[in-house]
Symmetry: D2
Subunit: 367 residues, 4 copies
């Protein structure tokens, strides 16, 4: 803990796109103090501003207190003093590095995909299922040797995050969903930097994002499901079969994943569009109740205008920490259809990890 | 008929976006000769190049033989010599003008929406249902007074056109579809000129296009359905209930409407993705069999690459006269899902009308 | 004055693009309180949120305290209590309305072009020439009848603003400029809403903006020049001939006008790039010295990276209140060349008017 | 020579962006027959369609006769039968490979930058200075051992090409230019694939392209200059000093480099805009006179509309083989200003090399 009573935290993959967002969120955080930055071996030893030169692609400049922080290799010894380590690593290095950090008894909040399907790791969208943290004691106990602090908590894929928040609100209000059909229109920032070539996306839509549809289809069930067996396993929504089908498209939008969604409820008759709208509007999540500083005031903002939400106009609402929905209406094939928007670089990435850590702090998982 | 044995044709709404496309398609057509151009009263009397000044937004220049053609008011007397009149009129003037032309015993092939739902007017996608022309004798007979030549044939909404061609191929191969869920990502040119403000669409997606979802949902049933009552009425697919649900989005793409589509067949078990792919590839339409000059060589091009079709790369294939599909795979909610692309300004608009006229010529409706 | 000691202010053209920016800047201003909104007669009588429905195109929502403010017709009687009236009117209505407001003894700070060339009206870029306010007593005295309060102060065209700030810094440091060659790449928001059609600008550059080149060429001389004849006339830089040539282009950028600039100094030898860079960096303007709340901390930010400033990354720096420059180097035709960026909707429009009023307040012109 | 009497030709760098354009231009050329494709060692041995899989980014599909052509390593032995070898190589491999091909007595027409400044290699824009081919005998003679066939001819940088054609027309009509100030707005395709990241260019302009300004400034003098010393050296415009200054910007445009240009003539008084317009319109180049199949009908198309040329609307005019100009008017700093457009992937790249070879064929350099 620092002299201001803040928890010391570190960021892995600090020079990457997600790492840059972590830095912006943590450089002036009321509860966390950023004390360690990790990047590839080639960057290690340099001041952050040099390590990231030519790759800092944020509208805000590099925070003054971070510019000269030394970048370290992603090795646990450099992060010993951190109560929390946030990982913005690419999936290739993330697997072994995150495991090594946990093995060194460090707490990892990861944005990488590697441990999302791990039967011991919670996959937590902070506005949806922080109750899944309850598997953490079991995760620690299963390690060899057992750990008293170290764990890995992952957050969801950015496009999954954008739809699972309204799905949770629907299940909470009306019981289980039965089928979900999602078509996404995803921003280029979802692919990192340099990511999508401009020649591929200007005046174009690319109807394919590798692995993305599978992520939405699989992650949704884990997130919407509960824990079982005395908090030692995930039930993957098994009590009520859930079929999810996704079409993923890349569009020439900088930030903000939009989704056209149709759902069918198990409950008959299905709720009306007005009831659904009301359920969205009144949905409140634990992060809000716990007073987390990065939580949105409104978890799901219901847009009333016929043509909203729109990525450019709505992605920065509430600093991108909530979800926007609109166009709630009857679906003649399933029950209800609507449009959903998530800021993929905020709630869809760094904000989720930071919020998860804020919730974990409040629930005692960081002590 | 002209000295070269071509049929004389005219274009209504000649200065608009669709009218410009008609002109490009007709200025060097092997069977039709463009002899009359109609536009608003304020343009009438001017040479075409002056009437359209500042609004010609085509990559190709105004054809030399059209530049100095005089623009006329949209009144039947100026089009008397035309065997066919193509209408690219906006819907506001289209209703009464097209009716007046028919009443003057002229044949109208219209791209406007006004008569698409008319119980006497065929709604024909040339690659799908030119058999609906068979209602024409009944349409003429119902007029007061009865007509020996005049009729109105409409083509479909641009986004409907892009999906109904693959649907037809599926129904031909596997019997009736039961449910269809379509999410479109539509080009800005679908909205005409000036149309969509750049401030609304740059770095953005607009999840709403007025009236578009209803058009897809309604038109699909009329087009895929047949005729009944001795060719005096449309059956609207009534023998096999068909539920269609559409989400329509505007994306920053110049030309080419992309759709993410999921379908369920009445037939159980449903065909496999491989069977569907084969059905698409072998689908051949009457326009091809009749040797229409504007028909595509391949009605439905099946793209094998994982990330195709794409608007920018595939919209001009075959001069935009066919449909491209790809990503044919199982849908875990309905049966099969795939991506479909139509060039909205070509097959989705002017090419459809011209092809309809070419088919009508071959089937004897223009004599 | 309000109970909080703020000056009451109004906005003309409140539903337009510039008017919306005025509202965002004034809804929470430390010195001004927004009490009156004017728009076209058709909007008058409605709450602001209804009057602007479908046209509010800002990332921020309509401020809560403005949503239900009644919109009034642009007539002086409705603005009597206002110490300052900001005009975001289009040029067509701006001429007579602004004159009528002045005649009613009201103070008008206008973003419209109508009175920029008026020999009695200061054309003030707040970071450059607030000394021109000294003509105000003469302006009032020339009115029939003489006015004790009413006047019109204009700010410059958005693209002029972006280059005249660095020009002022150069003249202050090195004496008069002799020739200026400016090529602009201007954002679509400079044209208002709906403004530029997406079909005109997507995947395109339009090498023409009506009247823009003339504005840059003429306004620069008035702004960089001084007052003469005992503060009763503008000298238009007449003591040192200044040739300005502009090429104006529209590019597919939402906000932020970029300019490639080459200049030649009267002084020989010309300053070096290093000297120019230093002159930019140390330039401080009166708005800063007076402590105006809307003034930037740094008037001219010098970007050191080879590829900056860029519109998307740098336009929101300092809330768009300053100018960014970069790529300062020798020009083999003139002396020095560099790149300049201004946020056209902020310093290039509403921020200039608000800053002018803040300066005027401090210099006693509002009492 | 082939059985149809065509010259056999090869392409180096066949899988790259420029190589793909060469293939499209050569797959159905009336005088050349494409018989050999060279690419990196890793591609060698594969059919072209496999070697280029995932990287073919052209609107046209891979020509049928090229799909299964085997790709070879870029070694002279595989190209022995080629009368001409076109090089679309990146600059890194281009230097040694092109030298090796020349040393093997092969004729290389290169789009790479490596030999543009070589004192023995002509830098030829086919619409401007094919008279520079006259140095070829000297180039061959200087090789060790002397060559009877092998040489290297380069074409210019894409942005240089777009301005040097109008400059040549001006010098031909009015004598030497004295100063030139060029600001370019360049398309993303100029940077190859994947090239410019979409995150860098969407809603943005990047005011820097590495090395580009120097290329324009240096190449212009070589191209506009003549030969000296009995056709053994380039005079680099030395008889009349020419100062060129360039600002280069990258804009979100797919194809087509636009330039805002100001020029000053040595001749006083300078020609009027009308005279300049006439000089552009009547300019005819040797490629046209010789009847080259890839030559444009009009070398410089003068656009009369106030807002043309525009990249999207004008880049494909004449298959991109000519240059478009517009907005010809007085410059208050230099003499005349105008806008110029070149299709950077056509005349700015592959078309130049092909045209150079067509001219060389007609002038006897290929026998």
């Amino acid at each position: 803990m620092t002299s201001q009573g803040k928890l010391k935290v570190g960021v892995l993959g600090a020079t990457g796109t997600v790492g840059q967002r972590f830095i912006l969120q943590l450089s002036n955080h009321p509860e966390f103090e950023l004390v360690a930055l990790g990047a590839s071996a080639s960057s290690a030893g340099n001041p952050y501003k040099d390590a990231v030169a030519g790759r800092w692609k944020q509208v805000q400049p590099i925070p003054g207190n971070v510019q000269d922080m030394p970048v370290k290799a992603c090795e646990p010894e450099h992060f010993k003093e951190c109560a929390v380590v946030f990982s913005g690593l690419d999936s290739t290095p993330a697997g072994p590095i995150e495991a090594a950090f946990r093995a060194a008894n460090l707490r990892v909040f990861s944005n990488a995909k590697n441990y999302r399907r791990d039967p011991l790791c919670p996959l937590v969208v902070p506005l949806v299922n922080p109750d899944h943290f309850a598997i953490i004691p079991h995760q620690k106990a299963q390690m060899q040797p057992q750990l008293d602090k170290g764990f890995i908590i992952t957050n969801a894929n950015c496009s999954t995050t954008g739809v699972v928040v309204p799905f949770k609100a629907l299940e909470e209000a009306f019981g289980p969903l039965e089928t979900i059909l999602v078509t996404t229109m995803q921003a280029i920032s979802g692919s990192g930097y340099p990511g999508v070539s401009s020649l591929d996306i200007l005046d174009n839509v690319v109807p394919y994002i590798s692995g993305e549809e599978e992520k939405i289809e699989w992650e949704t069930a884990k997130i919407l499901g509960g824990l079982k067996d005395n908090n030692t396993a995930f039930d993957l929504h098994e009590n009520s079969p859930l079929a999810v089908s996704a079409h993923c498209n890349r569009v020439p939008v900088i930030d903000g994943h939009l989704a056209s969604v149709s759902v069918r409820f198990a409950k008959r008759p299905a709720p009306s569009p007005e009831q659904v709208k009301e359920a969205f509007a009144k949905y409140t999540c634990e992060a809000q109740k716990l007073g987390c500083p990065s939580a949105p005031q409104i978890a799901i903002t219901v847009n009333e205008e016929a043509d909203r939400p729109q990525p450019r106009l709505d992605r920065d609402w509430q600093n991108g920490a909530g979800v926007n929905v609109g166009r709630i209406r009857k679906c003649s094939v399933l029950d209800i259809k609507f449009t959903s928007l998530v800021n993929n670089v905020m709630l869809g990435a760094a904000t989720s990890s930071v919020l998860n850590a804020e919730i974990a702090l409040r629930k005692g998982y960081l002590s």
